[in-house]
Amino acid sequence: MATHINGSWELGAKMTALVVDDDSINQTIHHRLLEQLGIENQVARNGKEAIDIHCSGKKFDLILMDRDMPIMNGIEATRKLRAMGIRSMIAGVSTRCVKQEIQEFMEAGLDDYQEKPLTSAKIISILRKIHHSGSISY
């Protein structure tokens, strides 16, 4: 497993991400996972905070969306973001493994789904799906 990974694209712009999760442990781990991959990221504690951040004008290359959160859950937040015209890569993250529940989440507008716990390998597999003008060196 590579520990020195360059997270910058050929054109020099750093990748950005938003971690949306209500659990402080997951927030800490996912934030650090992304950080170690060279991806600048911030954390939202629930779906509503994620929406508010986007309303303030911020955009991200990648959104890691937890499913179960208070105030506004991941399914609703994903639907709202897509309705707002957000085209970022949104990867749903959850411990749920029932096909129907995953399907429901995907249909809200996800580009990918990963089962928790997250690892750097899982994040890299998400990143490989992102189409970008630069080339990826992971």
Binding site: D23, I25, N26, I29, R32, Q36, D68, K116, P117, T119
Partner: protein, 119 residues
């Protein structure tokens, strides 16, 4: 310096033991991998967070089980959270216990659930 080396060796032995006994799983390796010179205390910080969070959740669970009419939705939410955070740090034994606990709850088996809490 000798005592530091000895402590380090003890830590390695203890960690291996925890893996062998199924308390920890591969995810813990991922956590250790996230620690480096720029984040030297990462594992300790996360594990501490986990203990604080779990203590709070277990308190809530115990309270909920003591109620006259048990609110299973609330209990389910707490255990779901504990299951999630324990799997994120590689605390395999805790995660497995959570799964067993939830089965008790589904069967409305209060005594079974209480026994799990005590453990």
């Amino acid at each position: 310096m000798d005592s530091v080396v000895q402590l380090q060796r003890q830590l390695v032995d203890y960690t291996v033991q925890l893996f062998n006994e199924g308390f920890l799983d591969d995810q813990f390796n991922q956590l250790q991998q996230l620690q480096d010179e720029s984040n030297p205390d990462f594992v300790v910080e996360v594990v501490t967070l986990f203990f604080e969070d779990s203590e709070r959740l277990l308190d809530e669970l115990a309270k909920a089980l003591e109620q006259q009419s048990v609110d299973y939705t609330k209990i389910d939410a707490h255990v779901h959270q504990l299951k999630g955070s324990s799997s994120s740090i590689g605390a395999q034994r805790v995660q497995k216990v959570c799964i067993g606990f939830r089965n008790f709850c589904e069967e409305r088996n209060i005594e079974g659930a209480k026994n799990v809490c005590i453990k």
